[in-house]
Symmetry: C2
Subunit: 141 residues, 2 copies
């Protein structure tokens, strides 16, 4: 726990450095979070964690992503070295995406987040119902 929290302290140093300087300080953590924290990246990484998959397989697995965003997200992940892209010279060429070692290394921290999400979902859902049910200052005692 304290080991993990030291990461937060390290991050906080970037924050306070930034707050104190005139020019914004570049924070690697934010950079990375902006990347994998978008709408589709984690979802695609999780999907590829099961096995390498082709473009259209991914599209079927994550049905509500548009081709446009699928292409774009995959390209960004490839750019960041998290996945690799292989083109096979079949009749209509097929393209397979799979996790790189760097992408693999992200699985463990990501899985702990998924695990949290799955275990705490009922709490979150309950909190939402409670919040929406008490629109102003209605307090149950």
């Amino acid at each position: 726990m304290s080991a993990a929290l030291s990461a937060i302290e390290r991050f906080s140093r970037y924050q306070s450095d930034d707050a104190q300087s005139v020019k914004p300080v570049h924070c690697p953590v934010r950079d990375v979070l902006d990347r994998i924290g978008d709408k589709w990246s984690i979802l695609l990484l999780m999907t590829l964690a099961m096995r390498p998959q082709r473009f259209s397989e991914l599209h079927r697995a994550v049905r509500d992503i548009s081709k446009r965003m699928l292409t774009q997200t995959l390209r960004d992940l490839e750019r960041d070295g998290l996945i690799t892209r292989h083109v096979f010279p079949t009749k209509p060429p097929s393209v397979e995406y799979c996790l790189s070692p760097l992408g693999q290394s992200l699985l463990e921290p990501m899985a702990s987040l998924i695990d949290w999400a799955d275990r705490r979902y009922s709490d979150i859902h309950a909190a939402r119902v409670r919040f929406d049910g008490a629109p102003s200052d209605v307090q149950r005692s």
Copy 2:
């Protein structure tokens, strides 16, 4: 590792259930990820992890968030029970936000992600440079 990866397997089951059914299957993991995976939530949670803070402190800590998004993100986090909001009846009323126990429980998985981001940033940065430097099939050998 295998314990963590079992979370991924569990998640994959939602995915394949969804792929097979006609009606989309509601996936709690996606629900939660959509929430904390937005541009500002993790950043604010990390900032609040250090200590409870007031609206304007948060605004100073995360300088490039707009008031609009700060308000909205805080409200969403409160709705999900991750943070609590206390109004103090000072002369101009001040408002303090702090992590709820549920929010605290998110710190550990989040910290491991932060830690990953911090340690792997140089790899990611290198991959980006490589990708941008090789626009087509130029390969350094």
